[in-house]
Symmetry: C2
Subunit: 670 residues, 2 copies
């Protein structure tokens, strides 16, 4: 079967089947073993039962082969014995300086005219083109190749990664980056391995070549119950999303979006702007396309008066000459060509979308495409087609492939794909301007280890070391200290500081806005009484007395160590709203100051900090500094697992936000 | 052309072409005029230039014809002269007791074996089936019929509504409701006319027949600048969405969703629950399907131990026997059948989704479908198929049509369509339990008229009449009144009440939390000074002094008169958060108390009112009463255009929320 596929594509090199039981397979001389091969192959593909794989690798190494693909399954994916076998395989690969794709994969193909190698089980031969495709699921790879036939979506290189024992996704990305025949890289991912390496590879690529990802497996795996807001809100899915964005990857939400986007990127150049003109022979689909624009970051181009004038001269009275240009149902191929030629020249137009609904019998979609093609190819503006009238033999799709026209069945699908190209245009700029900051995960936190809630004294010590502004406070168990503190700082807050006590407000262990010695004394007595009842015997109550911070914008700044991605930073609107509106954004650390600024502007409630309702805006530089210092604190401290500064209150008359409450979970060294 | 189409379908009745210039058309005797017809037709279709339409209608009426379709364009859609012509046409129709579809439409067809009439310009003959389709765009109707060919989606009745001069969408809905051959009604809408009539028709239908709508035209038209939060947030799109939900309509976001849902509804019965089992020969697509479940309101069924046991016995060791059941790539038609038979019997399973990725050469999708079909047809549980390996002749789609199996190309599309069926199952219950409340719009607000901001005294008078709880207050311009008020009510708020002054807080015209005569005097003096500078000369400052309401949950309750939908109610989280998080929900009035309760629970921040952070929950009955009274106030008062109660503060120690600030825009009677 495998050889059938390989022979089915006109491979430009020589093929040497190896099997002791045959002299010939598919008219090719078959060799009994690797040592009897007439020359050293560039690549060996192993399709043996798992127990024969190691010997075969040894033989190949002895014969001087350096690159192998192991299709065979039965390794890490099957449990402990398989994992051991894979480990031995990898050792063999490494000691012999081989490089390996797999094991447990579907192989790879390359459609470049100089190569034409199909080393996969794919039942159909791939359509040649410029989409590079790295797939974690071999079967899904096959399914997408099947689809691509009907859409005539062409691929340059396909690799099924399998268990990624040796060659990683990041290395394959770099390989596709160097391949000139690949203009867009696509990934199907179920999990992300070695994120730091992956991110570095992406960051180097996306400045000049787009990467699309279909990331599956959104259901969150059961994690240790989180003890911070950051922990609770940092669901796998949310972090993955943040991570992929930091990689500069365009994430597709569905398989169809993924295929549509690959088609668009592989056939047209990037738009210079986001102003789209629609030319149609029916109003309805144009309205549907217009409706979809905003969500995709695009806008309807305002045609210039001259353009509208020219259109009016050639179109019937019932036609709409502004954008969308509705030529009405009578439009034939000439009409399409003439209207396109006029609209394409308008300097207010960056992108042209043409819609064809079943045209009159005097013409056909093929005729329209043939008529348009020369002008499209001469234009620097990207062109997209929505064809709602394909014939049953789908001849129009073949024609669109010939002329490199991305063609879609639905108006909304076309707009979504165009939106991704515009999105990439911005990513490209961003990644060209900033060199990526990546670092390997340095923490060694044992997920099954013991964790402690740090005391306020401990948190305060660490915050001070990084100049993080805590509200003025003392920790004490003496009333006179409290009175003394009040005399110095005015209105105060008193609460129990022992980390064993949670939900302090609900337990009546927080007293706000105390303004005289009488109420302070009262609060002190109640705190001591109530806390004594709650604390384990032998633990004496510790009272935190803080200066009362005036009401203001309440922020949350949080950190969580993630076993996969490493250090995760969270910023958002805090206080009681944090769980309610989840108005928080995430980043995988490290982040530079530009990224910190982006984070601030992504928080919906950032308008509370800027020019909201004519209040004086805050100096956001101060907040950037605090976030930066907090990031250093949490990455430098190898024992911090989770940390919340919440709320971090910024009162309108204060120069900088102040930390009013905080929690910190640390690894227990025991 | 039109006659070609009609003759192309085996119409069971007689056809009489009428044209003075021919004796025969398409081998049919052609009559010179209506009066010479040999019998009275049941239906007349008019395809004349617009200037001949009226005479023709007169002739038809004289001949005794009662039902007509006017295809001809050139009426209301073309401007003033066309509108006048349409008006005359309608008068003619009414005085002669005719009923008319159109003008400016594409006609209609009916595929029932007893009828078989295709009176449209559709280039292709429709596929018979059970989807009824009412389309505002004739061309989009044609486009969808074209698509439906490749999917083999069958239609019962199609009507292009055109200008809806006589027969409305609501009447067509009622007609499709009575048609037993139609099991699902679909609508393509660009605008909604006569909403009260439409809503009433829907409410009567959706208790037993589903209605799907693709509503296009989302871009908001330029409205008069809103002077209330309600006005600003009540974008056309948001109201339309609320309205369609109140109608019990399932709204589709894209054309593809619309077609997918029509296919699902027309081929399978409704699921009894939302627990879905997935059977697949490839992991990837099953993961994509699982990822999409939550968004669609579905969940993965937990297979019973017995089921898993049985599966383990028949599947290879590498297969996954829990849900999704991954039979791996070697599965053939027998495997599909056996696994389906086991899974279908599991009482934890309500719905079965089968995925086929290119199967081994020993089988084919056709064989799998043929093998599955008898068991599917014997099962009461709805069945759906994702086929990622269709052959180029699409023979599998024909087979799926034969066995009434909804088939999809993408896993996510299938899940979205199934989710809509489950959604409808709930709508059905809801609309069976509650009789709909609808009323025609009674207000006569002139959108171009003059509007006034009502004074606080006026608002207070109206609120009191409906027992809406304003915070205790007086309006005065004398300092002693303020001091007196403070003595009675304690802490107070003072602000300028003149409606001419907006952004009071920003202008320093609000003083909060005043607790002694000294600060009250100070505030009084500043208010008078600052207001005098702002107010037009001759207008004396009016001071509103209110009891200070303790901090609490801030709500907004708003109203807006909408020229199309009539009375719109808004409820949400108020104060400064209203514009920020837009956590508001809308309803077209009237609403009953159950709907008011639904509104409260749809506000995300409703958890602030219920069991948030262990605080005692509020008695929501009080809020329901206030919303109900407010609804009556705004609908009874024919001059109110917009009204905001914002904030409506509910302090945790108060039995009921209190109105702290309000705005009201009324029509100026001049």
């Amino acid at each position: 079967m495998f050889l059938d596929t390989m022979v089915g594509m006109p491979y430009t090199g020589r093929i040497f089947p190896v099997n002791p039981k045959a002299d010939q397979i598919n008219n090719l001389t078959c060799y009994p073993d690797v040592s009897s091969l007439p020359e050293v192959p560039d690549l060996a593909v192993i399709l043996l039962p798992k127990d024969f794989v190691l010997q075969s690798v040894q033989d190949l190494a002895a014969r001087g082969v350096q690159r192998i693909i192991v299709i065979s399954a039965g390794f890490r994916e099957t449990g402990t014995p398989g994992t051991e076998l894979e480990h031995k395989l990898l050792q063999l690969v490494e000691t012999n300086h081989l490089r390996m794709i797999g094991p447990n994969c579907m192989g790879m193909f390359n459609t470049h005219p100089d190569v034409m190698l199909n080393a996969t089980f794919a039942p159909a031969q791939p359509w040649p083109g410029h989409v590079g495709f790295i797939s974690q699921s071999g079967a899904l790879g096959v399914a997408i190749l099947e689809f691509s036939k009907s859409l005539q979506l062409g691929f340059s290189i396909f690799v099924s990664t399998g268990n990624k024992a040796d060659i990683s996704e990041a290395e394959l990305l770099e390989y596709l980056d160097q391949d000139d025949n690949t203009t867009v890289i696509t990934l199907y991912q179920e999990g992300i391995d070695r994120p730091a390496e992956f991110r570095k590879a992406c960051a180097n690529i996306v400045s000049h070549k787009p990467i699309l990802s279909l990331k599956a497996g959104r259901t969150s795996s059961g994690h240790r119950a989180a003890s911070s807001h950051t922990g609770a809100l940092a669901a796998d899915e949310v972090i993955t999303d943040a991570f992929l964005r930091q990689c500069g990857i365009i994430r597709c939400q569905t398989l169809q979006e993924f295929i549509d986007a690959a088609l668009a990127f592989s056939r047209q150049s990037l738009p210079a702007g986001n102003r789209l003109a629609i030319i149609t022979n029916s109003g309805g689909p144009a309205i549907l396309a217009s409706d979809a624009l905003e969500k995709s970051g695009l806008q309807l181009a305002s045609l210039q008066d001259g353009t509208i004038e020219q259109l009016r001269r050639i179109l019937p009275a019932e036609a709409a000459c502004n954008n969308p240009v509705d030529m009405i149902a009578s439009a034939i191929h000439d009409t399409y060509k003439n209207v396109y030629t006029i609209v394409e020249k308008d300097s207010n137009v960056d992108i042209v979308l043409v819609i064809i609904v079943k045209p009159p019998t005097a013409t056909s979609p093929e005729k329209i495409i043939e008529e348009l093609a020369p002008t499209i190819q001469a234009s620097s503006k990207p062109f997209f087609l929505v064809l709602m009238a394909a014939s049953t033999d789908q001849s129009e799709f073949k024609l669109c492939h010939k002329y490199s026209i991305p063609v879609f069945s639905y108006p909304e699908s076309a707009v979504a794909a165009i939106g991704k190209m515009w999105n990439y245009q911005q990513i490209k700029k961003q990644f060209s301007a900033v060199s990526p900051t990546c670092q390997p995960d340095r923490k060694q936190i044992d997920r099954n280890g013991l964790f402690d809630q740090a005391s306020y004294a401990e948190i305060a010590k660490r915050c001070s070391a990084y100049q993080l502004p805590l509200a003025p406070y003392i920790l004490t168990h003496e009333l006179p200290d409290c009175i003394e503190f009040h005399k110095r700082f005015g209105r105060v807050v008193m609460k129990i500081a022992n980390p064993q006590v949670i939900h302090k407000s609900d337990a009546g262990l927080v007293f706000l806005n105390l303004s005289d010695p009488g109420t302070i004394t009262q609060a002190y007595n109640q705190l001591i009484d109530r806390a004594s009842a709650l604390l384990p015997s032998g633990v004496s109550p510790s009272i935190l007395i803080q200066q009362m911070v005036p009401a203001g914008v309440e922020l949350v700044l949080g950190y969580k160590y993630d076993p996969l991605y490493g250090d995760i930073l969270m910023l958002g609107i805090g206080g009681i709203l944090v769980e309610l509106y989840k108005d928080v954004v995430f980043r995988v650390l490290p982040v530079n100051t530009q990224e910190i600024k982006n984070m601030i502007s992504e928080v919906k409630g950032h308008s509370l900090l800027t020019a909201y309702r004519r209040l004086p805006a805050f100096d956001l530089e101060k907040l950037v500094q605090i976030i930066d210092r907090f990031s250093r604190l949490v990455t430098d401290s190898t024992d911090i697992v989770e940390m919340d500064l919440n709320p971090l209150i910024w009162s309108s008359n204060q120069p900088s936000p102040v930390i009013v409450d905080c929690r910190m979970t640390v690894q227990n060294p025991k």
